[in-house]
């Protein structure tokens, strides 16, 4: 029995990998571009889902995404650095600035973190827009596409694989971190802050570590974004983008921290493509659909699917349940 499922599982996995690798050869450039965007948003969603593990919802993901994009852009144009060298720097900048800011917010609990995030989202955008150094509201430009040796990432297919690389790295890191000892502590915090601190977990420090790691990957996503966008404009990194990111995660299923954001981003990237409606009503219709999804599929699309699919396909992560739910009932009696 068990070996049977194992074989099926491997088979499904292999087919999935093959399909993902072959996608840009099966579709046109525009669809490939949609996939690239899906990966970008998926990575942002992953970072949101990652901090949700410790009970912290971030509303500033787009802002740090922007920090990454701007760091890469400015280093490439002003310091003439290679794209690859800017990657770690972008991550470190985002972590360092994040550390300064979150030192204030994280010890104050989830709600302050949340509101702080929104304010940061606005502040960072404002900073990019009104400070000359960052290029103002017109943004800043990178002329060169990244390259390794002779391979230049300027076509859709190349960028698709570059994106896959980023996404894979992101997924592997997050997966490994979740499985590690620190990941177990994070889980404990996500389940109950009180309980976690009562067993001696330094909640603030662990949360800080989690958020900073998430910051690192957000910035990395920003750098990747520069590779295919080549232009960064402050308006791209606004609060509305952060809200979209949350939408991906919840539509996908907040309990599925690795697959959920990707599925959510995929759905929200492609479904509007096939909805032929007057564009000025699109945002209204999307909003109505989101309300309906949240009401009828509160566990997201994956939660809905997994109720119908075989359990091994999607493993649920029980710890997230406690994050959103209110009024926890005492277990004593």
């Amino acid at each position: 029995m068990k070996t049977g499922t194992d074989i099926t599982k491997k088979l499904v996995f292999a087919v999935a990998v093959a399909v993902v690798l072959a996608l840009p050869w099966m579709t046109g450039p525009y669809t490939t571009q949609l996939f690239i965007l899906t990966m970008t948003y998926g990575m942002l969603g992953l970072s949101f889902a990652f901090t949700i593990r410790v009970g912290l919802p971030r509303f500033d993901s787009a802002a740090w995404w922007g920090v990454g994009a701007y760091t890469t852009a400015i280093l490439m144009t002003k310091a003439d650095m290679s794209f690859w060298l800017t990657l770690p720097i972008a991550g470190i900048v985002s972590m360092a600035v994040g550390f300064l800011i979150y030192r204030i917010a994280i010890p104050r609990g989830m709600m302050v973190f949340l509101m702080f995030g929104m304010v940061i989202a606005l502040a960072i955008q404002q900073l990019f827009g009104s400070v000359e150094f960052f290029g103002g509201w017109g943004g800043t430009e990178v002329i060169e596409a990244p390259a390794i040796g002779g391979l230049v990432f300027d076509g859709k297919r190349e960028l698709y694989y570059l994106g896959l690389g980023f996404l894979g790295f992101n997924l592997i890191c997050y997966y490994a971190l979740m499985r590690s000892r620190i990941g177990r502590s994070w889980n404990a915090i996500g389940q109950s802050v009180k309980l976690a601190s009562s067993v001696g977990i330094n909640v603030v420090r662990y949360r800080m570590a989690n958020v900073l790691i998430s910051n690192f990957f957000l910035a990395l996503t920003g750098s990747f974004y520069m590779a295919f966008s080549l232009v960064a404009v402050p308006a791209t990194f606004g609060l509305d983008k952060s809200l979209n990111v949350i939408m991906y995660v919840i539509i996908g299923g907040i309990a599925y921290s690795l697959l959920g954001p990707l599925v959510g981003a995929l759905i929200l990237a492609f479904v509007p493509e096939y909805m032929r409606v007057a564009a000025e009503y699109e945002s209204i219709i999307t909003a109505v659909v989101i309300i309906l999804v949240v009401i009828f599929l509160p566990e997201g699309v994956l939660g809905w699917v997994s109720g119908r699919a075989r359990p091994w396909l999607l493993r649920r992560r029980p710890w997230v349940r406690s994050v959103g739910s209110k009024n926890k009932e005492p277990e004593s009696g």
């Binding site: 204030i104 917010a105 989830m110 606005l122 502040a123 404002q126 009104s130 802050v193 919840i250 406690s322």
Partner: protein, 291 residues
């Protein structure tokens, strides 16, 4: 600098502070009682302004009536938001509920954009003219806004002392025990939504003659209201009031001295304040669902 400008800058701060106070107290009320992070708050503010303008210009009714209509309309819409959307999502979690309010806000905003978008919406001044006090010119319109905000805040204060008001506080503190007193939580919740959203509507109606209305007026004021909540600390109406005026005045002065970067300066100041006073000026730590 010219010292005679000081009172004027202060007055600007007071006026916008009064508006922040209304929006922020509506927000903390909803957050505290229902534990819903109502993102649509800013859109209700915008709606209030448009409704007031429509009532005055299209129906020709006097301005005070317009304020009441705006209050009622936004309050009803707030209750509708609760009945139609929020009550089905609270069980599935904090973020789901929040996302739904975001979506609802989008619907309100884009609908307003499509129906009012290309028209300017301005009300003639309610009390025209200016007041001259020792060389300082004070426009009456602003005084009306400040007075209106104070009156509404006072009304809210007394409302919170009534049976319904106290039951809202009780439900916000301990929902289970409140229901053990015979308080119907659902009833308290929709009333809270109505009051919280109605406050925004009133704020919108109050500024309509002074600031005019536009489809985008709701989005940033909401963030500013969050700033006020951070500074004031939730759960404390007086904290929200104080913080609103502090933020309003600080913003007014910051703009004067640092220009368009004033907002950034405010952010930094707030961060420093929160670093030293985690609970804000007067409030207690923020309620944390699920923690």
């Amino acid at each position: 600098m010219d010292l005679s400008l000081f009172p004027q800058i202060l007055l600007n701060g007071l006026m916008i502070g009064g508006i922040y106070a209304l929006i922020a107290s509506g927000f903390t009320l909803i957050l505290g009682v229902i534990q819903v992070f109502n993102f649509a708050q800013g859109q209700f503010y915008m709606l209030g302004a448009f409704i007031a303008i429509a009532v005055v210009t299209n129906l020709g009714l006097p301005y005070p009536v317009a304020i009441i209509v705006a209050l009622l309309a936004t309050a009803i819409l707030g209750a509708l938001l609760y009945f139609a959307v929020i009550q089905w999502t609270t069980r599935s979690g904090f973020f789901n509920t929040m996302l739904v309010t975001v979506a609802f806000g989008t619907i309100v905003a884009q609908t307003a954009m499509l129906s009012f978008g290309s028209r300017e919406a301005v009300l003639p001044p309610v009390v025209p003219g200016t007041l001259s006090l020792g060389g300082v010119t004070i426009p009456n319109g602003k005084l009306v806004v400040i007075a209106g905000a104070v009156v509404v805040m006072a009304a809210l204060h007394f409302f919170m002392k009534t049976r319904i008001g106290v039951s809202m506080l009780a439900a916000s503190e301990n929902r289970d025990v409140a229901s053990l007193q015979g308080i119907n939580p659902k009833r308290v919740f929709w009333i809270t939504m109505a009051v919280g959203c109605g406050l925004c509507g009133v704020a919108g109606a109050l500024v309509a003659p002074v600031l005019a209305a536009s489809g985008t007026m709701g989005s940033t004021i909401f963030i500013k209201a969050l700033l006020v909540v951070l500074v004031g600390g939730t759960g404390s109406m007086s904290g929200a009031l104080l913080a609103a005026f502090v933020v309003g005045i600080a913003e007014s002065f910051a703009f004067h001295f640092v220009g368009h970067l004033g907002l950034l300066v405010i952010f930094v100041l707030v961060a420093i304040l929160i670093f030293f006073r985690p609970g804000g000026l007067l409030g207690k730590p923020l309620p944390v669902p699920g923690e």
